[in-house]
Amino acid sequence: MENKLLINLIPGDTFLHRLTGKTKVRTFIVLLIYLIMSFDLRLILPLFILGIIGLKSLKPAWKTLKYFFIIIVAVNLLNIVLFWLADPDIGAYWCGGGHTVLFKLTDRFYLTAETLWYLMVRFIKMITSFMVSVVFILSITPSELAAGLYSIKVPYKICTIFSLAFRYIPDIGRDFQNIKVSLQTRGVELDPKKASLKDRLKQNVLILIPLIISSFDRVANISNAMDLRGYGRGKTRTYYSEHEELKADKAFKVIYVALLLFCAYWIITHNTMPQDFRMWYPFA
C-alpha cells in the first residue's frame, strides 16, 4: 500500500495546479482555520461541496484515491463508534443539553438524537478536512510548498524540512517495498495466502528497523549533495518553482483575505464568548 502515496513531483496543468505555491499554502492555511474553528454544519457543508469540485478539477488517479477514501471512511466510522462508546451522551454537551433517546440498548449504551447529530457533523467535518488536504497535496509540489511557507515568513531551513520530508515520503514507500522483496528472497513468508495474519504483522515490524536505519544512513548523502550546491550560504532564499502571479492568484487572494476576516469575526463572536449551543442544532 505504501507505493500508492500521492505526492506530486511535477506540477500538473489544471487550474488549481497552475496557481503559485504562495496562493496554495495561504488558502490552505485559511481553510484549516475555517475548518478547525467550528462544528457548524452550515459552514462545513459548502466547503465539502467545494472540496468535491476541487478534487474533480484536478483529474486525479481515482483508482488510488478510491483506496484511500475507503480507509479514511472506515477509520472515521470506527472513531465515531469509539466516541459513542466512550460517552453515549456526548451530544447533550454539544447541542444544548437535550436527551431525545432514540433507542436504548442498556442503561449505559443508548443513542440520543443529539449524539447522532454530533457524530454525523463530526464525520462530515473529518471527511471535509481530508478532502481539503487531498486537494492540497495533489495540487502542490514539494518546492512549491517550501516557497509558499517562505512567503508567510517561515525561516527557510524550516521550509526545507517541510519540502524534503514531503519529497521523502514516496522514497519511504519504495524502500519499504525493496526491503520486503529482499526479505522474501531470503525465505521470509509474507504471502497473504501462506502466512497467517499474526506472522505477517510481526514480519512487517521487522521491516521497520532496516527501513529506519537505511533512511538515516542516507542523511549524509543528501546533505553533502545540498552542501555542494551551496545550500545554507545565504540568509534568504528564492524559489525556482515560484512564478509570477496570474489573474487567478489575485482572485484567490481576495477570497482568502475575506475568508480570514470572516474567521477572525467568527472566532471572536463564537469561540471566545459563551454560547447556549456549542454547535448549530436545527431540532432543538
Binding site: M1, E2, L5, L6, L32, L35, I36, F68, I71, I72, V75, N76, L78, N79, L82, F83, A86, D87, I90, Y93, K125, M126, I127, S129, F130, S133, V134, F136, I137, K157, I158, T160, I161, F162, S163, L164, A165, F166, Y168, I169, I172, G173, V205, L208, L211, I212, S215, F216, R218, V219, A220, I222, S223, M226, D227, Y231, G232, N271, R278
Partner: protein, 195 residues
Amino acid sequence: MKKSFLKTLLGVWNTKTVVAIAIGAALFGVLMNFGGIPIYTNTRLTTAMIVPVIVGSMFGPVPAFITCFVGNTIADLIGGWGFWFDWSVGNGVLGFIVGLLPFYGARINEGIFKPVHAVIYAITCIVGNALAFGVVTPLMTVAFYGGELTITFLQAFAGGIANTAVLVIIGIPILYALARRSAHSTNLKMEEEKE
C-alpha cells in the same frame, strides 16, 4: 572541550541537521499512519516514537521537537482524521524531552550510554509523556479547539501509556545499538567544528 548549554539545546543547524530532521519527520508521519495498531480514537500504539529517540540522541532536543511537530502535521495531512495541532505540539514537547539525552551525560555520538542513563531515560519518558499529554496537549486543546477535553484526556491517557511502552521497550535497545555503533570514536578528540 564542552559544548555550551545553548548549543546542546538547539543543536548545530547545518545542512546535515536539516536533512536528518526532514527524513525523521517523513518517517514519523508515515509510521504514524501505517506503522501502528489503533488502541483508541485517533490513538495508536505507534512505532513512530522511535524516530525522536534517534534524532534526539544524535542532534539534540530542539531538532527532536521540530521532527515530531512537522512529522505529526504530515501524519495529519495524509491521515485524514482532521488536523489536531494540539497533538502536534504535544508530540513536539515529548520529542523535546526525549531528546534531552545529552543533558544527563548520555552522549550517544561519543558512544556513552550506561545502564544509569537507561534508567534516567526511562524516567524522563514517563515524566515526559505525563507532561506532554497530561498538561501541554489539554492546554492546547482548550486554546485551539475550546473543549473536547474528556476525549483529549482519554486519548492522552491511552496514547501516553502506548508511547511510554514503545519508548522504553524499543527505545533503550536502539540507544544501546546506536551508542555501540559510534563507540569506536571514543578515544578520538573532536576537532573544532566548522560551520
